[in-house]
Amino acid sequence: MTLALYGYSQKQVVDSLKEVLENHQGKLNSLDERVLVNEADLGKLNKIKVSGYVQAQWESYGADLEKSNGYSNTYYIRRARVKFTYEAADGVKFVLQPDLSTGNLALKDAYAVVNLPKLKNLTLWAGQMNRPDYEVEYSSSSREVLERSRVVRAIYPGEREVGVKLEYIGVKIPIKFQLMAMNGNFTGTQQKDVDSRKDLMARLVYSIKLPAAGIGIDLGPNVYYGGNLSKTNKYFKNSNGTLDSLKSAWTYLDKNWIGAEAQIYADVLGGLAIKGEYMAGVNSTPSSVAASATRAQMIASPSLYNNFSGYYVYFVKNIGPKNQFVAKYDYYDPNTKLSGDAAGGSLYYKTWTLAWQYYLNDNIRITLNYEMPKNETNASNPTDKKDNTLGVRIQAKF
């Protein structure tokens, strides 16, 4: 009897334990499911990347800039960018980057990138993006001096364009090839093109690596082929400064140039880079005179058609892991055919820039930058303008 009762009691204990175990197993299974759901949700969030940077700056200007600005120095926010990248699937990416700096809410980048099926290294880009040029594509958050070169700012205003781009990055052959078709007149505000012709730009970069010597060289040519429609005015001023005329208005003025770039990286007591680019060709600016203007008014405001050339050279030396010294020289002549008094306001500029970077940590960079432009002198501009600029920038990047 006692044994039977003991056996019964044991069975009850075992049954009760089984029940508890099953209960816990159920709870574990439910937790497992919840973890899987959470993992799936987290996986979706992982596809979104948010990065950005803020550049707070102080600048002090030379006397001539002080006169034209009305102040000798200022604090300001140079850039405040947030970049959203969504990797929808393998090889499909969307990028949106507004600039939120004071009084300058602007859409900088808005494009999609798609890996073309079966062509793993070929991507198609569509939307608003950087033009394919080394200094244009080199992010402002990484650039070693505060501003891009004068020639680059002149021929690629606002850096961005709206269009489509094919980009091929070789694996066995170390090349990068970019071909972009774009509206060609984008300055950051207009939604659509202002004429029918699309501009083309191509860039090829070949990379040479000499690992034993710690040297890497990227070099290659680039070309721009486009035009500006002179809608209202058949008169234009050519490179020689003389007035000329097209057969009629509604004709395209050339906007063509070629360039070459080289970047040399060397491991000499820490990193060292010498980077440069040269470009030359013709650029045009269509007249903004009204179609109803008189001949005299048209002649007074002709389109402009100029041969130009420009180049820049950076010397960058890393000093230990946190410091960097930079010397840069850039040259831009907006009209190579005219010089001296004949050049009028189209003066060439030779600019030295010296800069020092201090990387406080992974996110913060402090830059001390001194820019010394030297302009061509002539009767209208008899002396070098006092337009040197001292800048201090603190950049926070995330």
Partner: protein, 276 residues
């Protein structure tokens, strides 16, 4: 202007000279989880005979290590995949170097199966189809009628990227459970009769290796010194160390030791294969 030029030249000379004086008595190593046990063993042995040097080893994945190298928070990055062009560009942008790539061992990316699994052999195409979710049941591969449970690594892992780029070549299925480290993958497959995982060869304890074939007509191989040495195992890769600059001082001595017969003996002891 003359004074200014002289001042600039002096400044550059002084700073370049000062750059040579950095000492590296502490070496930090970060990156590939596949290489963690190897890197720890190297560090332990090296520190025993070089007490003036402290070597700190952490994992996190190849991607984490490369990011740390770019951010300047590690001296050496271990990676189970080559650096991507975009990563080299970041290194160029920040340090003006291409980085220094040092192959230091070889590994066969191993496909782990539970001991009780009837399937023993897989082609590269089958592995791809399994991890993209096209093959969902072991029955399709001659095994039990059971759903395949996929275990893998997080996307910061070099092994994740390597398998994706070289074998899977498409999006991983959303049903892959991402685990933090090869040991966790092995553990999951050990407990799950219908599980499959991948990782470095050195971690395969308590699970079996799947023989891997290039295609249906080829011979299947498991990773071994012989099959990897002869190039027979189809998913063979180098394991790398990356540095920002050419190593100097204590870092150079440590790297040289790793590449020496003594360092390469550790590679074999841990379960990987010498780089030569």
């Amino acid at each position: 202007m003359k004074n200014f030029k002289s001042l600039t030249i002096m400044l550059v000379i002084v700073l370049m000279a000062s750059a040579t004086g950095f000492s590296q008595a502490k070496i930090t190593v970060k990156g590939s989880d596949t290489m963690v046990i190897l890197a720890q063993r190297w560090a332990e042995l090296y520190m025993k005979s070089n007490s003036q040097v402290t070597i700190q080893v952490t994992g996190g994945g190849s991607g984490v290590g490369i990011t740390a190298l770019i951010n300047g928070t590690t001296d050496i990055c271990n990676a189970s995949r080559p650096m991507k062009q975009t990563e080299i560009e970041k290194l160029k942008g920040r340090y003006n170097t291409l980085g220094v790539e040092i192959p230091c061992a070889k590994d066969g990316v191993t496909i782990f199966l539970n001991d009780a699994n009837k399937v023993n052999e897989l082609t590269l195409k089958q592995i791809s189809d399994i991890y993209t979710g096209k093959i969902k049941n072991w029955k399709e591969l001659g095994g039990n009628d059971a759903e395949i449970r996929l275990y893998g690594r997080e996307n910061s892992s070099g092994t994740y990227t390597y398998l994706h780029d070289e074998v899977v070549k498409d999006d991983y299925a959303s049903t892959v459970q991402s685990l933090p480290g090869t040991a966790a993958v092995v553990n999951a497959v050990k407990k799950d009769v219908n599980g499959i995982g991948y990782g470095g060869a050195a971690y395969a304890v308590g699970v079996k290796y799947a023989k891997v074939k290039k295609d249906a007509n080829a011979t299947g191989y498991v990773p071994s010194a012989e099959t990897i040495g002869k190039g027979q195992y189809p998913i063979t890769r180098y394991l790398y160390m990356y540095l920002r600059n050419r190593p100097t001082g204590e870092t150079k001595k440590y790297v040289d030791w790793i590449l020496s017969p003594a360092g390469q003996a550790v590679v074999t002891e841990v379960g990987y294969f010498p780089y030569k």
